[in-house]
Symmetry: C2
Subunit: 423 residues, 2 copies
């Protein structure tokens, strides 16, 4: 059998398993998750060996350090993954939740009940912890899943999925619930994109090239995200210490992720006071500051080699590095215009003591998450209390922001009567 | 300017208008709806004239009576449309609704707030009341809309949209909020399907050919439905009078719509008692009954010319006419299997006095709406209290069942802090 046929069979098997999963009691699904967590703590040997082999090959291929770091598994990281799985297990079960209920005038009782979507597929980057995150969120929400991880982590994922399959079997779940694509042939992505009868939701993760390709060519529902051009606007009424602390956190705490700061906008009336404070903090961390001419003037000629003029394409750019674009604006309106033009609809923040300005910003900025006096870094499933996340959607349809268990569900209408007919 | 460019300009204008609409207070949007309703009652002349011209041409083209009836506007129907618009206006405003709110341990206040999707587009059949339904639901939910109605109703829709534009203008809304495609060139559908930057949701209505074409080729989110292969299962513990009454209603009350009954499944233990009762009622209405051999045997050789053997393709067929397929099954499981194989995921019913059987059916049937002891005809936005509906989704993603104002929304996450940073 060729791999395309095999992939389609995996999809059909996942679809069949999803019908069983949808009916399992909460306890059984939680039991499976607990088994997975326990195995992640107690059966680390084969996974660490497999990961060491993946790591060695990736290193030999000259892959960069940040990538290698995401690929690497350690005993501690496996324990952290177990914690994440248990955190998902501890969530309220979304399956069967009554979203709303009402009685019609004719006496019909109507209930809107949450149900699983069916089969969640993901094509994702070479980070093995994503494997257990997606499996945990899918099983918790009563869904089967179909996983295709990055080729550099093939052995790690194969070992992880073997562990997951054993854990599922011990909990009485069919191993068909978790399907892993162990063939890294690129053309299988095209096959997957046609499997609309087998896949109810596809979440592409990783590079924007892959994400755009999937969004444009998939025949099934897709949720995309992953690209965040995030602004923090320091308003006229900002507290400059708070502004510096939040900008520093948003840029420096983890610069390689989508909710990290890319551009600072500062109101001209406070730029003279706030910008040097902010720049001092960013300097400490070695952040390169790409400034418009007004910011450059304020920071002065002696502000160091890390302070350089911004180029036009620095606005609207996701840096994923210790680089920030800085611009002075004359008003909240100018900040809103800039964000509307250059933002990616991910995460945007305003720093201000002016409640009216904050509310205007929160209302008018069209993004998955909008922040007042805090860091855009909080756009994250774990931070929001979702346990973890399948991704962060910048789409508006179906789900926006972190994708947790609820976002992997649909609903059905249940109507109970005693003979009512329509007149 | 050619029509493709014009269409794209309409989309861009709608998109710009949607940003304004999203910020309008509830009262202003309701005022616009009240203006539309009032005009529908008081400015009927031009619309009735336009509709008479449409009707005359359609009649001359030999179009069938059911189609002509849907196309026809009368003074009474315009008054009914006004009532529908006012019913939507009276709904709670979905825009700004706080879907959930919680405070994180670090003190951040998180709010999930409902917002409009942006621009709702629809390609729909030659029924002018759909124009005012979609306009009302879109405006109520803070969305702009882009409408392409059936070519047989071009003059009617042009007159209706002129009325709507006047009503919007008097309420201070830009007429760009409602865009009407007055060019019936078929190639414009292809243009529309590419307008993912201008259209946030596309709802195709009408024939399954169009719906499938749109679902497969659209680059933006689509909600599809409109095809309903609906079963009513008469269980072993059914009340036969109730069963007959519900089956009759589901089949006969309006046979040309998607939530009408197509197939009756009857448990073998009660078929001898229930089937004749059901068949007598259906006979009254002249329903053709296409029976499997067991049903045929029960109904007997003298049951009349309307009782004929079912052909294999009668199972899973949407009749949209006074025709019903009838089958005897041996168990609830067989009924569930039949529905899983042949259902379209629209509306399915069980008639039984057995609570356990009912719960199994309601839980296990995978459809937008599942019914116990009542008619599938209730799957309807107005019946559910949504005022009206843009369509009925048989998709699972984003929205399922009747599409009212809430289903035309997305949400954003709003996070308020006082300097919190991520550790």
């Amino acid at each position: 059998m060729n791999s395309a046929d095999h992939l389609r069979q995996q999809g059909a098997a996942a679809q069949a398993a999803s019908a069983l999963l949808a009916r399992l009691p909460t306890e059984t699904r939680n039991h499976a998750l607990e088994n997975i967590a326990h195995s992640l703590e107690t059966e680390q040997g084969p996974i660490l060996d497999a990961n060491a082999a993946d790591y060695r090959d990736a290193q030999a291929d000259g892959i960069n350090d940040a990538f290698l770091d995401r690929l690497l598994l350690t005993s501690e990281r496996l324990n952290d993954m177990a914690v994440d799985v248990r955190r998902v297990a501890a969530l309220q079960d979304p399956v069967g939740e009554v979203i709303e209920a009402f009685t019609l005038e004719n006496g019909l009782d109507v209930e809107k009940r949450r149900i699983p979507l069916g089969v969640i597929a993901s094509i994702y980057e070479s980070r093995p912890n994503v494997t257990t995150d997606i499996v945990a969120l899918a099983l918790k929400s009563g869904n089967a899943c179909l996983l295709r991880g990055g080729k550099e982590t093939l052995r790690s994922n194969t070992a992880l999925v073997a562990l997951i399959h054993r854990a599922l079997g011990e909990a009485g779940l069919t191993t068909d619930s978790v399907q892993f694509v162990d063939d890294t042939d690129r053309t299988l992505v095209d096959v997957m994109l046609q499997m609309k009868d087998e896949i109810n939701l596809l979440v592409p993760r990783g590079g924007s090239g892959l994400i755009n390709f999937v969004a444009e060519n998939a025949t099934m529902p897709v949720l995309t995200g992953g690209v965040g051009v995030c602004h923090t606007y320091v308003d006229r009424d900002a507290d400059s210490e708070m502004a510096a602390s939040i900008v520093y956190n948003a840029k420096v705490q983890r610069p390689t992720v989508c909710n990290a700061l890319d551009t600072v906008l500062v109101h001209s009336e406070v730029a003279g006071r706030c910008l040097p404070t902010i720049a001092n903090r960013l300097h400490e961390a070695g952040v390169e500051m790409r400034c418009d001419h007004r910011a450059l003037t304020i920071l002065g000629p002696d502000s160091g080699p890390n302070t350089i003029p911004a180029q036009p394409d620095d606005w609207g750019r996701e840096f994923l590095a210790l680089i920030a674009a800085i611009k002075v604006v004359d008003s909240l309106d100018d900040a809103l215009d800039h964000i509307q033009t250059y933002g990616s609809g991910h995460s945007e923040a305003i720093i201000t003591q002016d409640g009216d300005a904050a509310e205007r910003f929160l209302n008018e900025v069209d993004a998955a998450a909008v922040y007042h006096n805090t860091s855009t870094r909080f756009t994250d499933g774990a931070q929001f209390g979702f346990g973890s996340e399948v991704g962060i959607s910048t789409d508006k349809f179906h789900a926006r922001g972190p994708l947790g268990v609820r976002e992997l569900t649909s609903y059905k209408w249940i109507v109970r009567g005693n003979g009512q007919i329509r007149g």
